[in-house]
């Protein structure tokens, strides 16, 4: 009995160790390569012997033509991401409240539309979206991406918020109704302040989607100074220059904000659509 328990513990730990290696080796290699000097980059060494920040310094001082607008382009990613957050919030706060707290004709149709938008892969919409944006005169603007992110990712946000609004106790609302407060007043004096954590989760989700977006930026932006970082990094891949330490440094820098967000909000990111399925 005891012997088999020990054997079991060894096997479980061993599998876990293999999976840890499988998970982190590509990330480990990205970090290690970013800390190597040009001379060490092509050597066969799996651990770092002489770490240097050269690659990072070249990136942040924009000391190479592919990172010539690094700060501007990183700023573009921030603008697009923050803009997308505002867009998603302004759509989903109201939509979530209506879906979670009200009964009205057409609610089911709106629920269906949110589901359809959520399920449709964004890839399928991108080409016609890109043509449409040209009609609207928004080609090569950050707004074009912000609107896309707002439209594509509001449905998920609406669900998270409607789940929250649905669970606010009825008594709180009824007390305000007795005092003669209107719907809208109740909404912004009672519901909104309570929704803080859910709003933060929704904002995080929108931020991450916009931060990681490559396809819409590829289609919608053309000026070098307007590009977001994923496009710039995509440019490394078609280059023939083997400046992998610098490319990896950019990869590491760009990964830090999403890693922080994912680990802070992971419990919110798994729920949403799955909540019903998980409970059942």
């Amino acid at each position: 009995m005891n012997k088999s328990k020990i054997a079991f513990a060894i096997i479980i730990n061993l599998i876990a160790i293999i999976l840890i290696l499988y998970t982190i080796i590509p990330i480990y290699w990205m970090i290690i390569s970013s800390l190597k000097s040009w001379e060490d980059l092509f050597k066969r060494e799996y651990f770092i012997s002489r770490p240097t920040l050269d690659a990072y310094i070249n990136v942040v001082t924009q000391n190479y033509f592919r990172v010539h607008y690094f700060w501007t382009q990183l700023g573009n990613s921030v603008i697009v991401s923050v803009g997308s957050v505002l867009m998603v919030l302004s759509v989903s706060i109201f939509g979530g409240y209506a879906m979670g707290r009200m009964n009205f004709r057409g609610k089911k149709s709106i629920g269906f539309l949110t589901l359809l938008t959520y399920l449709l892969p964004s890839t399928f919409l991108a080409i016609p979206y890109y043509k449409t944006i040209s009609f609207y005169g928004l080609y090569n603007t950050h707004l074009a991406i912000i609107f896309a992110m707002g439209a594509l990712y509001s449905p998920y946000a609406i669900w998270i918020l409607s789940d929250f609004f649905r669970n606010v106790p009825r008594e709180i609302e009824e007390a305000a109704l007795v005092d003669g407060a209107g719907r809208f007043k109740i909404f912004y004096t009672i519901f909104l302040p309570l929704a803080g954590p859910s709003l933060a989760a929704v904002a995080t989700f929108a931020f991450l989607m916009a931060w990681n977006d490559y396809l819409y930026a590829l289609l919608l932006l053309s000026s070098e100074k307007l590009l977001t970082m994923p496009l710039v990094m995509g440019g490394f891949l078609v280059s023939d220059e083997p400046l992998w330490n610098m490319f990896m440094a950019v990869g590491v820098i760009y990964s830090i904000p999403p890693i922080i967000f994912y680990y802070s909000f992971k419990k919110y990111l798994v729920t949403g659509i799955f909540r019903g399925a998980v409970k059942a």
Binding site: T23, L41, L219, F274
Partner: protein
């Protein structure tokens, strides 16, 4: 629902619609209109004749089924067992894993792909350097159809398993522990617990996740576009990426739209199945 007594049904209806207006507005302008325009572009039947005569397109459709069929199923089975392993959190290595396993999912696609491209580099990539330790020859990973597809599927699995592991883990946590305790008392083996408790209770979630993942994998653009670029010789394109080759490089937008609208019937069936299992959000 909520305090209907204080409002007439009609007022409630008007207010409900009013609150939904921002979504309806955004949906109409940025989703519905482009979608209809897409269908309009895809209406020209000569596009399909042209596609049917492009061997690389036929190849892309085949690749799409390969990529989705292999990628999704391996990923889901892997995630199912991965989530089971995470239940043994009392073991130290599992504890570390339960924190680390999210990383591939947390970093941007493009950062992960940059790293894979560097590791797969035929001259100085760490994989070939490692193989050379054993006297093995350099492999041109991305110059060959089979290894390119394998690398893309591997990346897809590496990148997206954490999301589904996390979902299955959440599903496992709501299975009442008493069921397992009772089974232990009855002397059930681990395999029997899996077959008679875990699998039946996880079935619905597993099917739902597989359907959802199939839809999203059909739309996976970044992996192939950035990892193989459709090469060598345009043979590794998927429906989702060859569409952009037509639209951006060939400059034929209508052909691009038509090339993936072919998948629409499959998508609609999958969406219908999901709605059938889960219902529409407004109903809950």
């Amino acid at each position: 629902m909520v305090s209907m007594s204080s409002y007439s049904k009609r007022t409630a209806s008007v207010v409900g619609i009013a609150f939904s207006l921002p979504f309806i507005f955004v949906f109409t302008i940025f989703i519905l209109y482009p979608l209809l325009y897409g269908f309009y572009l895809a209406g020209n039947l000569s596009n399909y004749y042209e596609l049917a005569n492009d061997p690389l397109y036929i190849r892309a459709i085949f690749n799409t089924f390969l990529y989705v069929g292999v990628g999704v199923n391996l990923k889901m089975v892997f995630a199912f067992f991965f989530s089971g392993l995470l239940m043994y959190r009392k073991y130290p290595a599992v504890k570390v894993l339960s924190v680390a396993y999210l990383l591939p999912w947390a970093i941007p696609d493009i950062a992960g792909i940059l790293s894979f491209r560097w590791m797969l580099n035929s001259d100085w990539g760490v994989i070939n350097l490692f193989l050379s330790e054993f006297g093995l020859p350099k492999i041109m990973w991305l110059n060959n159809y089979y290894t390119s597809m394998a690398a893309a599927i591997f990346f897809h699995i590496w990148k997206w398993t954490p999301l589904w592991t996390m979902t299955f883990y959440a599903g496992r946590l709501v299975i009442p522990p008493e069921l397992y305790e009772a089974a232990k008392i009855d002397g059930a083996s681990t395999i029997n617990e899996l077959r008679h408790i875990t699998m039946p209770l996880m079935k619905r979630l597993y099917i739902l996740c597989t359907l959802l993942s199939t839809i999203w994998t059909l739309g996976d653009f970044n992996t192939i576009w950035l990892l193989t670029g459709g090469d060598p010789g345009g043979t590794t394109h998927l429906a989702s990426t060859i569409a952009y080759k037509y639209a951006l490089y060939v400059g034929n937008v209508a052909l691009g739209v038509s090339s993936y609208i072919v998948l629409m019937p499959i998508l609609l069936v999958l969406i219908f199945m999901i709605i059938k299992i889960m219902g529409v959000p407004g109903e809950r």
